[in-house]
């Protein structure tokens, strides 16, 4: 009476072809799946960690590059207001070629031999509007000594939309006309943001000597006297 039961229990162990039945093979299969999932998860985690690390390092390198070009305020030795110190000081001014309002290309290189004030401004910037008459007076005063200003508008330029581009150019032209700016005004200054240290604040001015090196820089509204002193430095007076 016992044997038939034992046989019945053993019988399902073998099926045609010698393979295991469903109930018995499901356990090792489940274990395999779990192991494979765990291994894949670990691999994926490593891959993700590697990718995240790469992204982090890339961003850190970009931040470092940006901060290397970015100036900072430093205390004035004479006890006056803090002075803007740029890492570009003593180095060649980053080269550029931009369009003026008529579409003519103007490059900084074509002003080699002159002292140049590169002045970043925007139509929406109230301090820029205050500063502009001073710049015009100083430009007219020192032009005979070989001094020129390049006004660079940081207003947004939408080259993908001809109508918007035209409106934006008109707004800049209106400002130039109202202020009677006699010097070249170039557009799309945002393109120079990186080489000139971010341009997070306007107005920003870089004073370049006759050899093309940056001798001083200012960010924010200072005073006509300070601008004049930096123009004299650029002229080598």
């Amino acid at each position: 009476m016992v044997f038939p039961t034992a046989e019945r229990k053993l019988a399902p162990r073998q099926v045609a072809g010698g393979s295991y039945n469903k109930a018995e093979r499901s356990l090792p299969l489940k274990r395999n799946t779990l192991v494979i999932t765990a291994v894949l998860f670990i691999l994926a985690t490593f891959a993700w960690a590697g990718w995240a690390n790469y992204e982090y390092r890339k961003q850190a390198a970009e931040r470092l590059a940006a901060s290397a070009a970015q100036g900072m305020l430093a205390p004035d030795a004479a006890g006056g207001a803090p002075q803007y110190v740029t890492p570009l000081k003593g180095k060649p001014a980053p080269a550029f070629t931009l369009e003026d309002l008529s579409g003519r290309k103007v490059s900084l290189a074509s002003y080699r031999g002159k002292a140049v004030l590169i002045n970043f401004w925007a139509t929406w910037c109230a301090p820029c509007k205050i500063e502009t008459p001073w710049l015009i007076e100083l430009r007219n005063q020192y032009a005979a000594q070989g001094f020129e200003i390049l006004g660079i508008s940081a207003d947004d330029i939408d080259r993908g939309d001809p109508q918007k581009l035209s409106d934006e150019k008109k707004a800049i032209a209106r400002f130039v006309e109202q202020m009677h700016m006699p010097y070249p005004v170039l557009i799309d200054g945002d393109a120079l943001s990186k080489p000139y240290g971010g341009l997070d604040e306007l107005p920003a001015s870089f004073f370049v000597d006759r050899k093309g090196a940056v001798v001083a820089a200012q960010v924010g509204l200072t005073s006509k006297d300070e601008i004049e002193a930096n123009i004299k430095k650029a002229l080598g007076n």
Partner: protein
């Protein structure tokens, strides 16, 4: 065998999906850190419940970083960029009217003749909205242009996230 392959594929898909989600979370948190030191910060509310289909007024509160100001909605000069609040179309919530606070008159120390009308510190914009029935995650926008006493930052648009429940 086929069953086994399917399981492996599912396992790969699940692990890959988890890795992508983790990576996205990491990227989002890195992106948010850029907003540190923002000129204007949205304060509250994060969620409002209004009567569906009827106009309701909600006050949106903002804070400007110390030492900075932004142009009011009605700056004194045409060339200055006004502060504006907007809600994109198709969000399930319609902006009927925005009522901006009056700005404060201000002059720059270096040139008292330049008159500005600005917001400083905290301010609130009263917005009349009409929401459809349901839960709407709205990303409104605040556009402004900030300056301190001597320099200006480029105009900026910040997201104003709010959960609007229309009942």
């Amino acid at each position: 065998m086929f069953e086994m392959k399917t399981k492996i594929r599912v396992a790969i898909a699940v692990t890959f999906g988890m890795a992508v989600l983790l990576a996205q979370g990491q990227a989002d948190s890195a992106g948010r850190s850029i907003l540190k030191g923002a000129a204007v910060e949205y304060l509250y509310p994060e969620q409002v419940t209004v009567v569906a289909g009827r106009p309701s007024t909600v006050a949106f509160h903002f804070r400007i970083a110390p030492g900075l100001h932004i142009n009011s909605h009605t700056p004194r000069e045409d060339y200055l960029i006004p502060t504006t609040f907007s809600i994109p179309e198709g969000a399930g919530v319609r902006l009927e009217e925005a009522s901006y606070p009056a700005g404060t008159e201000m002059t720059l120390p270096i040139d008292p003749s330049t008159k500005l009308n600005v917001y400083t510190g905290e301010f609130a914009i009263q917005v009349r909205i009409v929401a459809a029935a349901g839960n709407h995650l709205v990303e409104a926008k605040l556009r402004f242009q900030a300056c301190d006493k001597s320099a200006c930052m480029p105009p900026k648009t910040i997201p104003v996230a709010i959960d609007v429940i229309g009942k």
